[in-house]
Each structure stands twice: as structure tokens, then as C-alpha cells.
Amino acid sequence: MKYVDEFRDPRLIAQAADEIRRLVDPGRRYRIMEVCGGHTHAIYRFALEDLLPRNVELIHGPGCPVCVLPMGRVDDGLSLTGDPSVIFTTFGDVMRVPGRHGSPLERQAGGADVRMVYSPLDALRLARQNPDRHVVFFAIGFETTAPSTAVTLRAARQVDIPNFSIFCNHVMIVPAIRAILDSPDMRLDAFIGPGHVSTVIGCRPYGFVAREYGKPIVVSGFEPLDLLQSIVMILRQLREGRAEVENQYARVVPWDGNGPALRALAETFDLRPFFEWRGLGFISQSALQVNEAHARWDAERRFPVPGIRVTDPKAAQCGEVLKGVLKPEQCKLFGKECTPERPVGALMVSSEGACAAHYNYGRRRTAVA
């Protein structure tokens, strides 16, 4: 095993792998989805699938925020750079996401004032430094990142910074999990619950997965041993006919989540009636928008936004890969037209995207047919 020497405790890893083999019914196929990009990255980096029996399959769900952002939103956001007073800011992950007329990075090379920031608070600082310009922060991320934008919005209002606004693309994993469970072409047995998202929302919001759909969900940490232990916990539930929410990552994830973060979200955002996810289509109440009290800091209210909808390039099968219907390498463009250097689809952009992870670390195991 290539990476096994780096495992903190190879003996515990081997024990967990043995336990998995012991719990698995050889006559049954197990499909377990992880919905956190950090998990996807770790699973590929540590080649964890090599430690699993062939009938245990990990499906890499929509856990990477840039991967689920439709191209039209990137174009909508970048359209604001047409106004010469605007400074467009966003996280590094977004800089290389292709829009119809180039990525933010390419637009920057073309002369648009596009700047990368590491924190929404740095975008706010830029606004204070440039009172004659308007700074837009193109916000992206799941519940992990949304509270940071919320606190920034609150600060913009408290200090009354007029030349700052948020172009909000924050999405929520729980409605996406429900959409996946409702999808007819999806047959899953269980979920590995996200780690850092759950530090914010806690474990309670996953109750419906067990209650209404009868599927186990185990919130997991990011270490190889964490992920294997979570799979053990899932397999035990399946073997014993249980469907529960369990917390393998209790050393970081409180059952009730992070109170101040949840309060900041409630103070600044509303649910959008619906929002488009790449590969999953429109999902109702799955995204956040800046609320009425903070309307002055909402870029979508302050600027005309074209509302561009772009269908993904036909040949690219991002949607199927995102839903786990296809493996990354089964996409016609994988590794040919679409590479991390020149991504066609967003799954190739971020290290958390299934395609980039597969491309970077390769696979020594072929898909279970």
C-alpha cells in the first residue's frame, strides 16, 4: 500500500479494515456516499477504496462548493465587473472556475479588477481602503463558510460601509442530501456525514435521513482512520438493521452545532425559494440569500444581474459524476479535453472535486461493475 506508512497508526488502520471485511455480507453490494469535498480529497489521497472489499463502493457526492455552482452564476457574478467602479473579490478556489467568457482569473488577465481574498473580512477591508470603489464579495461555500459571510455582513451593517456587497451563492448540504435521496436513479445504502459543515449545523438536521429514508448517516472526521471507523459504524448499523445518526467526529462536532454561527446565519440570510445546483438541477430551499435587513449589502439587489443560465458542455458529464451515476474516468472528456490545468467542468477545478482528485491520485482499483 503506497501511503500506508504515513498512516498515524497502521495497526489500527489494519484492524478497521479487518472489521469492515468481517461486517460485510459478500452477497450484497454497499453504496455509501460522502457529501464533503474534504472527505473526497482524503479518500483519494489515502487510496482508502483499496482497503475496502470490492462490494463496498464509495460514491463521491456533491460536497465541493465550486463543483455544484452552475456556470451561469459565475457569469452573473463576473458581469458586475463591467462596471468600472467594481472590485470583484472571491476565494482562490473560484478563480479558476470556467465561466462562459472565461474564469475570474482569465477575466483578471483581460483587465477586469478581480482580486483573490482569503477571508470575506479582507473584502470588507478592501472596501474601507477604497471608498471611491464598490467591492463585491462573490461568496461561495456550504454551512461551514456561510457564517463567515454572515459575520462580515453584520460588520458591514454595524460600521455602515456603503461601498460593499455580497453576491451570495451559499448552499446547504441538507436539502441536497434530500434531493439525492429523492432522485430515482440513485440507490444508496448510507451516508458519511460532512465534518466541518456539522461543526456549524450539528447532527440533528440529518435526522430525516434515518427517520424518513431509513438510511444510516455517520458524521466523520478527515483522518484515514476516522473515515474507516465511520464505514465500520455504518456497516454495523446496516448489519443490525438500524438507521441512526451517529457522530464519529465528536471531538470537534457538537451534537447541537455552533450557536453563534447559527444565530449569525439567521440574522443575515433568508432561504431562497429554489437554487440551481450543477448536476442536480433546481433544489427548493437549498441556498441562502441576503435578507431584507441587509438589502443594502446585497449585490443582487444593488446591481442589475442578467440571470444567465448556461447548459454544461454536452460532452462533459459533470452531473452524472456528481450524482455518482458515472465514475470520473467514465466521462468522455476525463483526462483528455478536461484536465486540472484546463478544466472544462468544475469537478476538475478544485482538489475536492471527484475528477481532480481522481486525476491527481489516480486509481488502482477499477469500478465494481
Partner: protein
């Protein structure tokens, strides 16, 4: 995107109650601690940092685990770059040191 950087709280900012100085492998930057206002946060505590915000209080053991995990995932340099990139704690008009390019 999901990077969580473990840092140790060195001191709280007296001028701005939202901020605390953290140390990550010798690099010090200010981060926002509003999301931990319900915690009895003290100097010397370890926290997980994400996009400029302390998100969770963690144990020292877990902090070391997390640093090691970042290194194993090949994200340790990126994490330090992110930390060094935070400017919001430096006051509104920190002069750029010579040689440092505008972002």
C-alpha cells in the same frame, strides 16, 4: 475550500473584541473569534480556523493531528499561505512591505 487550520490563541485584541492573535507553526495573524463567543475561550487554547474565523475549539492533540493531516493531504503550504494572506487584522491601511505585491 474546507481547509481548517489549527492555531493557538496568543492574545486577545484589546482594541477590537472580535479579534484574537493566533500562532500557527510560528506564523502569527489575527483571526475573528465571534463564532466562539459562547465558549470560555482563553489564551493558549487551540482553535480550528477557516477563512479568517475561529470555528471550533479543539484539544492540543487534535491540533497536532490536524497539522499532520494537512501535511499528508499536501495542503500545509496552502494553509500557511491562507493564514499569511489574512490582512483584516492589520488595521485598515497597513503599508505593504517592499517586495510584497498587491493581490
Amino acid at each position: 475550500m474546507c481547509l481548517a487550520i489549527p492555531g493557538r490563541i496568543v492574545e486577545f485584541d484589546e482594541a477590537d473584541q472580535h479579534l484574537a492573535l493566533v500562532d500557527v507553526s510560528g506564523v502569527r495573524r489575527k483571526v475573528n473569534v465571534d463564532l466562539l463567543q459562547d465558549e470560555p475561550l482563553e489564551r493558549g487554547d487551540w482553535v480550528l480556523i477557516h477563512v479568517g474565523f475561529a470555528m471550533s475549539r479543539i484539544s492540543e492533540d487534535h491540533a497536532r493531528e490536524q497539522l499532520r493531516l494537512l501535511a499528508m493531504l499536501g495542503e500545509d503550504r496552502q494553509a500557511m499561505q491562507e493564514l499569511e494572506g489574512y490582512e483584516f487584522g492589520e488595521g485598515p491601511h497597513r503599508p505593504r512591505p517592499p517586495g510584497e505585491e498587491a493581490p
